[in-house]
């Protein structure tokens, strides 16, 4: 089994609107897969399809390399959108109920509640919890039964900085010590950047790119800026030479994010075409700029 999650041309339509369009997702065992996209890009829908709360319009899903999805889903913990909890019950009762389905005894329930900081909530009903506390309870429920894969949709929503750090440490601990695989969506790219080992970028229902954190770092490290008054002509030259893959144009500046290993060749081609290059320089780039560039395409 190479992939813990593999989707093949996964598609979901709501009436005539395509929410997920032929997505081929690949999550390897041990990955912390950061799933990134704008609001409405199809992240949550993809996750819900994987978890079986939505039925795909077409395409295939393989979990742990197998097609018997319901059996494989027993190995998955999840937190999708707002946590699903019984508001008129205590945190312990919520955990107790879901432990019947997911596994886990009273000892594990107490440990998990302690871990997420809800060990002292006593008889307080979940409906009276703050947003952050509800989120913590949702995470504790997802962790019941020691799942091998965790699907988390915006898991740090509503958490304070200390809570965010605790969850980040927990994710890293589970990943490194127990080999738990994660697929996490988050708008907080910096937070995701601290833990993700691989990224999937989704836009308008389509998976734009899957990239490892190492590759991403390489790409973000440098970006080649070409400043010229004739950006249109320069674009044509770059395109002709197959250098125009990942790029951004801002006024007189063309920023290239890939195929920039030989800037001297780029310069030579531009000069030969009679394009006055005012400046050719490398600059560093953040995750955010890279994602915006990829999502903007």
């Amino acid at each position: 089994m190479k992939y813990v999650i593999e989707t093949i041309n996964l598609t979901k339509k709501f009436n005539n609107k395509v929410a997920v369009d032929n997505v081929n997702l690949h999550v390897e065992k041990g990955d912390i897969y950061g799933f990134i996209g704008r609001n409405g890009a199809g992240k949550t829908t993809s996750m819900r399809l994987i978890l079986g709360t939505l039925i795909p319009t077409s395409g295939e899903i393989l979990l742990f390399g197998k097609k018997d999805l319901n059996n494989q889903r027993r190995r998955i913990g999840s937190l999708i959108e707002a946590p699903g909890i019984y508001k008129n019950c205590t945190a312990f009762e919520n955990m107790k109920r879901f432990s019947i389905l997911a596994g886990g005894d009273d000892k594990q329930i107490k440990e998990l509640l302690e871990f997420v900081g809800l060990g002292n909530t006593g008889t307080k009903k979940a409906g009276q919890f703050s947003l952050g506390m509800k989120q913590r309870l949702g995470i504790a429920i997802a962790l019941l039964g020691n799942p091998e894969l965790l699907v988390l949709d915006e898991p740090i929503n509503g958490l304070d900085p200390a809570g965010i750090k605790e969850i980040r440490d927990l994710i890293l601990k589970l990943n490194q010590e127990k080999g738990v695989t994660f697929i996490i969506s988050s708008h907080l790219l910096d937070e995701l950047g601290k833990i993700a080992t691989r990224y999937g970028i989704i836009h308008a229902g389509q998976l734009v790119e899957e990239i490892s954190a190492r590759d991403l770092q390489e790409r973000c490290k440098t970006c080649l800026n070409i400043i010229t008054k004739e950006t249109k002509k320069a674009q044509e030259v770059l395109l002709k030479n197959d250098w125009l893959h990942h790029y951004k144009i801002d006024g007189d500046k063309i920023s290239l994010y890939s195929d920039i290993e030989h800037p001297e060749k780029i310069n030579e081609a531009l000069v030969k075409a009679g394009i006055p290059v005012e400046e050719l320089s490398f600059s560093g780039n953040g995750f955010e700029d890279y994602f915006i560039e990829r999502l903007g395409k």
Binding site: G52, S78, K87, R97, I100
Partner: protein, 254 residues
């Protein structure tokens, strides 16, 4: 399936709504019995030869004919069924690999158990109140046992309708409204239909619906044909609604 049943029954026995509806249904029976008892002296004043028609057996049947228990049952079913939709907890269940059909069947078993518990408790209490507060246990008329089974089938048919409405609506307020208004609206429509066709002969639309059949079942003497008719109508309603909700559920997103 075993885990799903344990899950559903834990929820059921921890549910306040279940106990509240249970208590209200018992209170309904007690109030009905006390009201009838309080009316007895007045009736005797009006008619010296008045003899109580009430007994354990008559009260047992009457309790189910006035519709209060059915409506209360509808409310209880709506609360129990819609809880998981309202709190968005069903996604946790599906996401752990439990199939839509198994989740559905487990819920049917748990909610049906709650409904039957309420029904049988009400039956026993109405029998006891009727026996000790009025004219003893009473004597069973023709086909009393058959009529009793007819009532049970009709009650089960109501259960299936209320369950289907709640499962398809998902929203508690809408489900409760439909469970209360639905049967009333249906009866009004049937009465209108009966009035319109009354000149054509003995045909009555209400004979083909549960309420009309329930009225027949609580009469003093019930014919064998009427009992068979009640059971057939109930079975058709049960099969129809069960198939409908089961089919829709199979392909439904949450």
């Amino acid at each position: 399936m075993r885990q799903l049943l344990r899950f559903e029954f834990r929820k059921l026995f921890k549910s306040k709504a279940f106990y509240v509806c249970f208590a209200i249904s018992v209170a309904f029976i007690l109030i009905t019995a006390l009201t009838m008892k309080a009316l007895e002296p007045e009736l005797k004043k009006l008619d010296e030869n008045y003899q109580s028609v009430y007994s354990g057996l008559t009260m047992l049947k009457d309790v189910f004919s006035n519709g209060q228990i059915a409506i209360l049952g509808g409310i209880m079913i709506a609360i129990l069924v819609c809880e998981d939709f309202g709190s968005d907890t069903l996604k946790n269940v599906y996401a752990r690999g439990y199939s839509r059909q198994n989740v559905f069947y487990a819920k049917v078993v748990a909610v049906l158990t709650a409904y039957l518990m309420m029904l049988f408790a009400d039956m026993v209490l109405s029998l006891l109140f009727g026996t000790f507060m009025f004219d003893g246990f009473g004597t069973a008329g023709n086909n009393y046992v058959g009529a009793f089974f007819g009532i049970l089938f009709i009650s089960l048919a109501y259960f299936v309708i209320f369950f289907a409405i709640s499962y398809l609506c998902r929203k508690l307020s809408l489900a409760i409204t439909l469970c209360i208004v639905g049967p009333i609206a249906m009866n009004l429509l049937l009465s209108l239909g009966d009035t319109l066709v009354s000149k054509l002969g003995d045909f009555k639309f209400s004979d083909y619906w549960l309420d009309g059949r329930m009225k027949q079942m609580v009469q003093a003497d019930v014919g064998g044909g009427q009992i068979a008719g009640a059971i057939i109508v109930s079975v058709i309603v049960i099969a129809g609604f069960a198939c409908l909700v089961s089919l829709i559920n199979r392909h439904r997103d949450i």
